[in-house]
């Protein structure tokens, strides 16, 4: 009984993540690649994403903090990689903020970059929290 209830909660949580636009269909692609022989594939990929995103965020922070000269091309380059990773796991909101950041880079708008960067960090942290809860729930339900 308990297990069924937890499974339903996990399914509901998953649906909400899609409905609220945190995840897109690429996440389903990852799920389709998971099987009994590779039961943790999705979680492994997500973990890789969080290692990468921490690094990207750190590098952007360093590049933005440079008060003398701002290399928009470098910022754009880092964000392009970050965007690629978020796209690969289906992190829709994070990806959108990355795109916005790149727009500001192309326009050479530093304030816009800094503002959007806060959004990127926020969306990244929010999704991380939600996915961690989701995976935990799934573990408890199995």
């Amino acid at each position: 009984m308990e297990r069924n209830h937890l499974q339903r909660r996990a399914a509901y949580m998953r649906e909400t993540l899609f409905d609220q636009g945190y995840l897109d269909e690429q996440f389903i692609q990852l799920e389709d690649l998971q099987d009994d022989a590779n039961p943790n594939f999705v979680e492994e990929v997500v973990k890789l994403f969080y290692t990468d995103s921490a690094r990207f965020i750190r590098n952007i922070e360093l590049a933005l903090d440079n008060s003398t000269h701002h290399d928009f091309e470098k910022l754009d380059d880092i964000m392009h990689q970050f965007k690629g990773s978020s796209s690969s796991i289906g992190a829709e909101k994070v990806k959108r903020e990355c795109t916005q950041f790149q727009e500001y880079c192309k326009a050479g708008n530093l304030e816009g970059c800094k503002r959007t960067f806060q959004q990127v960090k926020q969306e990244n942290a929010t999704l991380k929290r939600k996915l961690e809860s989701y995976f935990q729930l799934k573990r408890q339900a199995s």
């Binding site: 690429q26 692609q29 990852l30 389709d32 690649l33 590779n38 594939f41 492994e44 990929v45 890789l48 994403f49 990468d52 392009h80 990689q81 965007k83 690629g84 990773s85 796209s87 690969s88 796991i89």
Partner: protein, 214 residues
């Protein structure tokens, strides 16, 4: 006769599928991408599709694996775990590498880009190996055109999906590799020791020039 035809159709289809799976297991794909997430994804996509996969994280490593680095370069990168390069000429290194039937490469990578890699491969004795370029930029523009003009057989938009794997198979079947593997499987199914394509093969191979149908 009529009563059996449907059952025959089913077993025939099953047999065809089994044969296709068997063919695929002979195919070795070299995947090149600097993103560890994308490498993991590619590795899984290709494995699920029954191909053998080798993933490398840079154009340099890909060239090394294919034995296309010159002697100086190969000595510098000796620390790499890929053991294909010997201290002799690059020609003999090529023969040590197990066959590669398809190369999939990301377009934008630091150092040697996917485009650079494409050009290097197409200039080499690996030139008949199909090269697929992947990129997250979806403007069917300079990247796509540039790569297709550069000799790439296919362009894939990232993130790469399971459905894209079907496109690979058609490129693999277009080469004469399939003849090699069928002949080999007749001789007790040994693994193909020589590389899949060689300069002599290019003469009897017809190149499919038009854009692939997706």
């Amino acid at each position: 006769m009529e009563l059996n035809s449907e059952a025959d159709e089913d077993t025939k289809k099953e047999q065809e599928q089994k044969e296709e799976e068997k063919e695929k297991q002979h195919f070795h794909v070299l995947a090149v991408d600097d993103s560890n997430i994308d490498r993991k994804l590619l590795e899984r996509l290709l494995t699920v599709s029954s191909y053998q996969v080798t993933c490398v994280d840079s154009g340099d490593k890909a060239l090394e694996y294919l034995g296309l680095l010159d002697i100086q370069e190969s000595e510098i990168s000796r620390t790499s775990s890929i053991s294909s390069c010997s201290s002799s000429s690059s020609k003999s290194s090529e023969k040590e590498v197990s066959k590669v039937n398809l190369i999939m490469t990301d377009y934008s990578m630091p150092g040697i880009t996917g485009y650079d890699l494409l050009k290097r491969v197409k200039r080499s004795s690996w030139k008949d190996v199909p090269v697929v370029v992947m990129s997250s930029e979806n403007i069917p523009s300079r990247i796509t055109i540039r790569c297709l003009e550069g000799g790439a057989e296919e362009f894939l938009l990232k993130p790469v999906k399971l459905a894209d794997m079907r496109k690979l198979h058609s490129h693999l079947l277009n080469t004469t590799n399939i003849h090699d593997t069928i002949i080999d499987s007749d001789h007790n199914n040994n693994t193909n020791k020589r590389k899949a394509s060689s300069p002599e093969d290019s003469d009897r191979r017809t190149r499919i020039q038009e854009l692939p149908v997706s």
